[in-house]
């Protein structure tokens, strides 16, 4: 049944076959997508018409490759900027939240903790709509009362960042909390007895200890932000992110440029994911 127990050949072979099928199921769509990025055809489908790099570097007029496709390049740049902002912001607030929930005691802590994990069970679509409605009402209220028009409260870059931040911070908080919980607080006490103030203790001792989880959290926040669709959909203004762009192209009929983008994203994501896993600081809960 398990490694240490004897089990029949059929049991072992059957289980192995099951895992192989599972892995094929897991990877088939990704691998097919990547392969078809190099097919010299106008459509992302078979038959194979020969190897080409045109969907990456093509200059037109027939094929405009990804690196000359300003629409998709702009989407990638926007997504990158959003992801960096969200990652920085949610790592900062997530670290503070981890300290708050692991090291402080205060009234209504349980209630606040419950609120903090609530974004895990709020569908992304609802989160996006709520923030859209709220900022819209707020901007109308501010305009009526003070006569000031605040542009960042209408669907725009800033709103996308806020929307993604609102739930990604929960994930980052949980990653950092998990490590902080294992921290030996006598180290802090020792530093305090040697004359360090609270700020110095946190800066020199606790944050050093937390570093792997902070880096892991930031990487996960970046990836989650970069691929987010559901929340972003409602908050996006004129600068759309890559997933929104891709969605429109996939819906309205696609060219292998999407495969080229997918190829690059799958490779980059894999590298980031493997690097994060190897650091070992990012056990996903």
């Amino acid at each position: 049944m398990i490694r240490t127990l004897p089990s029949s050949k059929i049991y072992k072979a059957g289980f192995r076959l099951f895992i192989v099928i599972f892995l094929v199921f897991l990877f088939a769509p990704l691998i097919i997508t990547m392969i078809l990025a190099f097919n010299d055809s106008m459509f992302p489908s078979l038959p194979w018409k020969g190897f080409t790099l045109d969907w990456f570097f093509g200059k037109g007029p027939k094929i405009i490759g990804l690196f000359n496709d300003s629409f998709n390049l702009r989407g990638i740049a926007t997504s990158f900027k959003v992801a960096v902002s969200v990652s920085l912001l949610s790592t900062m607030v997530g670290t503070l939240a981890a300290f708050l929930f692991e090291q402080e005691n205060f009234r209504f802590k349980g209630a606040l903790y419950f609120l903090m994990i609530a974004p895990l069970v709020i569908p992304g679509v609802i989160l996006g709509i709520s923030i859209l409605l709220f900022t819209n009402s707020l901007s109308i209220f501010i305009e009526d009362t003070f006569g000031i028009y605040l542009k960042f409260l209408t669907p725009s870059f800033g709103l996308v960042v806020l929307g993604q931040f609102s739930f990604i911070t929960t994930i980052v908080t949980m990653i950092i909390s998990a490590r902080l919980r294992k921290f030996d607080r006598t180290l802090e006490e020792a530093a305090a007895n040697l004359g360090a103030n609270r700020f110095q203790v946190i800066w020199f001792i606790t944050l050093k200890y937390l570093r792997p989880s902070i880096i892991g959290g930031a990487a996960i926040a970046f990836l989650m932000s970069f691929e987010n669709f559901n929340t972003t959909l409602f908050l996006v203004g004129s600068q759309s992110t890559l997933p929104i762009n891709l969605y429109q192209q996939v819906r309205d009929g696609s060219t292998p440029v999407i495969n080229a983008i997918s190829f690059i994203l799958i490779i980059t994501t894999s590298i980031v994911a493997v690097a994060t896993l190897n650091r070992g600081g990012s056990r996903k809960s």
């Binding site: 859209l132 409605l133 609102s166 997918s262």
Partner: protein
Amino acid sequence: MKSDRQPIRWSFFIFFIPVFLWLFLLIVLPHLELLRMSFLGSRTSTFTLNNYKAFFTEPIYWLTFVRTAMYSILVTFIVLVISLPVAFYITKISSFKLQGLLMVLILVPFWVSELIRVYGWMILLRESGVLNSFLVGIGIFKEPVEMLYNDVTMVMGLVYTSMLFMVVPIIGVMGNLDDSLIEAAHDLGAKKIVIWKEIIIPYCMPGIMSGSIIVFMLVLGSYLTPKLMGGKNALWFTEQIYNQIIVYFNWNQGSAFGFLLLLLSSLIIWIALKLTRQEFSKVVK
């Protein structure tokens, strides 16, 4: 250590204020606004129950709602049935050398954007897709068959996009299950099915529940997969919400739908936790 009571206070506020602002401004207030908007008429802006009445009197609305809930439960169940043996193989059967490799293999697609994974299935399954060319090429099919845009494919797609969120938490708890428990049961003559029922599943319950909650939430709130893979005349509830907000610009009706979806998801999760006697705050850790 009581003497440093004073310095702790300012650090408390540094932790508390950003976290409070995040949760209050981006989670609490937006959802209160969602609730308020759902009780306002779309033209009159006065209190009304019409938005909720429309939901219960128009079969297309509540049928979509029931369909979405039922399919989400079905998908969660299928995902669980596939994930248990996968997690079992990785943690208890495969050799230790293979274990690390399998973990990486399983986690990498986890981070690839949902859109790209769905796109992969689209180019595999559609009428001009890879699978059709292959099957026609080797003579199994006489002519291409449209395999996209039906409920079976949609369920498969939803299983595919959410599966790893179940496998990972189950691996987390199953890895800690002491092999000697299984060995003891085996030596005392327990059958495999009894070992699963009496030892493995009860022990893995926290992982099963956290995986189920995440998968259920993801599926229920999914937009891309049902939209791109599902049948054209049967909507997912998030599509209804999207249509109200973006297409018809009826934010009040959309809010009512959004709030109902939120209510439904909370209710189903609450029932599931009660039935399995688990606690939310423990499950999500």
